[in-house]
């Protein structure tokens, strides 16, 4: 049985089931409210849900179960001193040592040591001297990817739209960029992009941590030096524009992406929904669409709406679309079935 936490424009939905055998909606919380991200902390077992009410602003809530009592987390706000307010929470990631990390807009990182009940802002990033030069993307100045290093809690990578990759090796005391090789097409050729690097998603290969994969705003990249430099590997895709990405933790040469037509047409190409898989570190890509809509299907799959559980032959993949559909594969993408078809627009999908 796999539990899916699906954040939508109109609430959090909990789905339980098995790929190919169907899923049931077992709970709904925050009805009517945008739930941009929800995950279950593997250490505490709590569900954490980021909710941005159009009226009351972004809040983080936690509960043991979605239909239980929710409490509001504390410390989820910007410090005094600047004329800015927290706009949105984008991602929550469990770290190596029990730390929870949370990224938000405007380019803010929080940590929690108590399972998400209370949070502190990471001042080294908040006070970074380059911050005045940071440029927001279309979704805001969103810190959307937080990538721990297995077994080494001092090392962390972040990605932010449209600032690029930040790397730390000293427990977040200092940060350095990891943007060499990224070639944005939205600035004139030969122009230094500075800090206008619109990373869409960032992941690390569990069994070879110095290898990372990135979905960029036009471009899919691989790094073999822990994010210091990047090589474009998107040539075999129908489009190298897209948002989410996952890796098979058993295979450091693997990655899955969901191409969208282009930045000006963020729908699945040619009306066909297909996930693309590489097993050779991006040399070649294979379409995985058996069971997915194959005609007249113009879906948009957002940044946090693809996730996995298991690995190897037992790799399960799940993604949701703004159409309200959620799709499931229990065989590493070889075949797919619908887990839900009529949810509100899906913002995030996380397995638990």
């Amino acid at each position: 049985m796999t539990e899916l936490l699906v954040g939508t424009k109109k609430g959090l939905f909990v789905l339980e089931g098995e790929p190919g055998e169907g899923f049931e909606i077992t709970a709904r919380a925050f009805a009517g409210e945008p739930v941009e991200y929800a995950m279950r902390d593997p250490r505490s077992g709590r569900i954490l849900a980021a909710v941005t009410s159009a009226f009351y602003g972004p809040k983080l809530h936690y509960a043991e179960d979605a239909d239980g009592e929710w409490e509001q987390a504390t410390g989820v706000a910007l410090p005094d001193g600047r004329n800015e307010a927290l706009a949105r929470l984008w991602v929550i990631v469990a770290g190596e040592d029990g730390t929870l990390y949370m990224g938000g807009d405007p380019g803010v990182l929080f940590t929690s040591q108590d399972g998400g009940a209370s949070w502190s802002i990471v001042r080294s990033l908040w006070d970074h001297p380059t911050r005045p030069d940071w440029q927001p993307g279309g979704g805001g100045l969103c810190l959307h990817s937080i990538v721990p290093w297995p077994g080494e809690p001092e090392r962390l990578a972040l990605a932010m739209s449209a600032v690029g990759v930040w790397l730390t090796d000293d427990g977040m005391r200092t940060w350095r960029h990891g943007n060499d090789g990224l070639a944005p097409r939205y600035v004139p050729e030969g122009t230094d992009p500075g800090m206008t690097l619109c990373v869409h998603d960032l992941h690390r290969a569990a069994r070879r941590p110095e290898r990372m994969f990135m979905q960029f705003h036009g471009g899919v990249y691989r790094s073999d030096d822990a994010g210091a430099s990047w090589t474009d590997i998107g040539a075999g895709l129908p489009s190298d524009f897209g948002f989410p990405m996952v890796l098979d933790p058993a295979d450091p040469d693997s990655a899955y992406v969901i191409p969208l037509t282009a930045d000006m047409d963020r729908t699945t190409p040619d009306g066909r929904v297909r996930v693309y898989e590489t097993r050779d570190a991006g040399e070649t890509w294979t379409a995985r669409g058996d069971g997915l809509p194959s005609e007249h299907a113009y879906l948009t799959v957002l940044r946090q709406a693809l996730d996995r559980t298991g690995s190897g032959d037992a790799l399960e993949l799940y993604f949701g679309a703004t159409s309200g559909a959620v799709y499931a594969s229990g065989d590493a993408g070889a075949s797919w079935s619908a887990a839900a078809e009529h949810l509100p627009p899906v913002y995030s999908v996380r397995t638990a």
Binding site: S53, A54, Y56, A85
Partner: protein, 88 residues
């Protein structure tokens, strides 16, 4: 004293009480006083800067007000979600 009147979900966060008697010269003053008296409301009506959230409306004595609208003893400030927020 000025009365701030809340509806759900703000009322629930404020101990289940709709009406709160508060001191202050302006709308934002009494709302800040409300946050101090009811810490669970912090960040819900005013953001970290102390600004009235964009899709919150306030009415003073039945008239549409703003953050800097002056209030007097005996006034009632109603805090309501704006219909504009429903666009999301």
């Amino acid at each position: 004293m000025t009365t701030v009147r809340l509806r759900e979900p703000l009322k629930r966060l404020a101990g289940g009480r709709a009406d709160h008697e508060l001191e202050g010269a302006t709308v934002v003053d009494v709302l800040a006083a409300l946050e101090r008296e009811q810490p669970a409301l912090a960040g819900w009506i005013l953001d970290e800067r102390g600004h009235l959230r964009r899709h919150i409306n306030v009415y003073v004595g039945g008239e549409r007000g703003a953050a800097d609208t002056r209030v007097a003893a005996g006034d009632r400030v109603d805090v309501l979600p704006a219909i504009s927020g429903g666009a999301r």
